[in-house]
């Protein structure tokens, strides 16, 4: 793969985009890119072509590693972009290399290029400006986090690490690189299997998984819908369960603890911009009457974390503030913006400092939400809705939690309101699937606060009132 990239005329620092389903070939592409000193840019395979183009343009990718069909869909209108196709060869009018051509390239393995502070990969996250934003991470950023966690877990060649997250999601950085570092085996769970609880459990058994890392929603899906709880606990070999990305309601943590008392349960915290910078380990029995979730915990990976008030003054135990992170795992910056390596990062997360010095997550100070573990800027969904000619204005709110988390759009229509399915179809051409709205309501005018901003609180209240009524109606029918 490194030879192929060099054969295409790419040089150290050129960006290599990856847009393909999970497979060992795409992992090889990552390794080849890093070997040749080129950062890679993973794009979720479900990303619609329009959005993929936007990302490719934004990071000025020199090559995209993909399938033949996607290469054709992207076409040639992206400047000097070359293609590496992982099955077959690119169409003859597209510049690039096919898998067979790649394998037949001869010559020595290229020497290792690149330095610790070079860009290693770019992860695109939802952006508050209405466009995806590329988070730039260096080799040093990733290694600081991966080394710390490989040591904390005592990862060894005997381990079999599950990779649940897509490669475009930072959880996969642990799966891949902690495994490589420790000589452990990393087992890729295909995207198509990850959404079916029965297939995930098959995978856990078949691969003898010892380490699992995912968003809590994925574990909840297993606990609630899969055959997981019906199996003898000893059938599973998992010795550590890591979860990150959203709050994991304590009752599920308790369920896991009771069923697998020897398995370590670790709540990891960290936005894409900082890798994992804090964690809390759930130890001992979790009392039946406990309702508060696990805290974010304390700093790890060599980082320092603290909370500050709105006026910038650090807060102490019992007080609330915004969480800041500083240290070796903090990103280089956003793609296309001036680098901020070494600078502290304000997470936008509001936390409480607990008496023991740990931090507890309280909420966000902006309109970023987590739905099923995915980070979503509501402004980006709204921007995509506004592209629709029949929509005058739109505001999106997140409702529900865990796997039942939903996005609801409140819309002012210019003309005949498009049906829900038409809105979904429209959004599917602009956004990844997890950002497509689940429901829509049309209003003559969006409610606004005194300052003229959309009143999201009011919208959430409208939604809850409507759904409370529905629930009551169902209960009434049932009791009759």
């Amino acid at each position: 793969m490194a030879r192929g990239l060099l054969a295409l005329g790419l040089r150290r620092g050129d960006r290599v985009a990856l847009w393909h389903e999970k497979s060992w070939r795409i992992v090889a592409a990552m390794q080849g890119a890093l070997r040749a000193g080129m950062p890679y840019v993973p794009i979720d395979p479900q990303t619609p072509p329009e959005r993929a183009r936007q990302m490719l343009r934004d990071c000025g990718a020199a090559v995209v590693v993909t399938g033949r069909e996607r290469a054709e869909r992207l076409g040639q209108d992206l400047g000097p972009l070359a293609f590496i196709t992982l099955e077959g060869a690119p169409r003859s009018d597209l510049p690039g290399l096919g898998w067979e051509a790649l394998r037949s390239l001869a010559g020595p393995v290229p020497a290792r290029a690149g330095q610790p502070d070079d860009l290693a990969y770019v992860l695109y996250t939802s952006g508050s400006t209405g466009r995806p934003r590329g988070v730039c991470l260096s080799h040093r950023n990733a290694l600081a986090f991966v080394r710390w966690w490989a040591r904390e877990l005592g990862l060894s060649p005997a381990d079999r690490v599950a990779n649940h997250a897509p490669f475009s999601f930072d959880l996969s950085v642990f799966d891949l690189y902690a495994s490589f570092l420790a000589g452990a085996c990393v087992c890729l769970l295909p995207e198509a299997a990850a959404i079916v609880p029965g297939r995930v459990v098959d995978f856990l058994l078949r691969e003898g998984i010892t380490i699992w890392y995912s968003v809590p929603s994925a574990l909840r899906l297993l606990l609630e819908h899969g055959p997981l709880m019906e199996m003898p606990p000893a059938a599973l070999r998992w010795r550590a369960l890591l979860f990150a990305g959203e709050v994991f309601p304590i009752k599920y943590v308790r369920q896991l603890r009771r069923r697998w008392p020897e398995t370590r349960l670790l709540n990891l915290y960290g936005p894409t911009e900082t890798n994992v910078c804090a964690f809390h380990e759930a130890t001992g029995e979790i009392p039946e009457d406990r309702i508060e979730p696990l805290p974010i915990g304390r700093a790890c990976s060599g980082d320092r974390i603290w909370a500050v008030r709105a006026d910038g003054v650090p807060v102490g135990p019992g007080e609330d503030g915004e969480l800041w992170v500083e240290g070796p795992t903090v990103m280089l910056g956003y793609y296309g913006q001036s680098p901020q390596a070494g600078r502290a990062y304000a997470t936008g997360d509001l936390v409480r400092v607990l008496p023991g010095g740990e931090f507890l997550f309280l909420g966000r100070r902006d309109d970023m939400v987590k739905v099923r573990g995915y980070r979503i800027e509501l402004a980006e969904v709204e921007a995509a809705l506004l592209v629709h000619p029949a929509i005058r204005d739109a505001a999106v709110v997140a409702v529900g939690e865990g796997p039942a988390g939903r996005l609801v759009a409140f819309v002012e229509a210019r003309e005949a309101p498009p049906p829900l399915l038409a809105l979904k179809q429209h959004l599917a051409t602009h956004l990844p699937r997890y950002m497509i709205i689940d429901d829509a309501r049309y209003l003559p005018a969006l409610p606004r606060t005194a300052t003229g901003k959309v009143d999201r609180l009011q919208l959430r209240r409208l939604w809850m009132e409507e759904n409370d009524t529905k629930t009551h109606a169902v209960e009434e029918v049932k009791t009759r």
């Binding site: 079916v196 099923r372 399915l421 038409a422 979904k424 179809q425 997890y434």
Partner: protein, 89 residues
């Protein structure tokens, strides 16, 4: 169990998807609507849909049959269920 035909299964599935996943708004929902691509079905609703299929048609799908191709559209799913029902009958 009697054999089911795709044309009998489809309206039942369509009714379920319209009611449970589109909140009763069935405008534009056809046998060819791309359910996954347009975000009509996600991992949670897939689990619930499987439970519905099992209960309504007494068809238990093997894990390896639960693939994106089979759930891509209501048409594809109806065809698959009809095939499974013939095989089980």
């Amino acid at each position: 169990m009697s054999q089911l035909r795709a044309e009998d299964i489809y309206p039942v599935l369509r009714d379920y998807v319209a009611r449970e996943l589109l909140h009763g708004e069935d405008a534009g929902l056809t046998a060819d609507t791309p359910l996954l691509e347009w975000g009509v079905i996600d991992s949670l609703s897939l689990a619930e849909l499987l439970a519905f299929i099992e209960q309504r048609f007494s068809i238990q799908m093997a894990e390896e049959e639960v693939t994106p191709e089979h759930f891509q559209t209501l048409g594809a799913l109806s065809e698959l269920l009809a095939r499974l029902s013939r095989a089980h009958a």
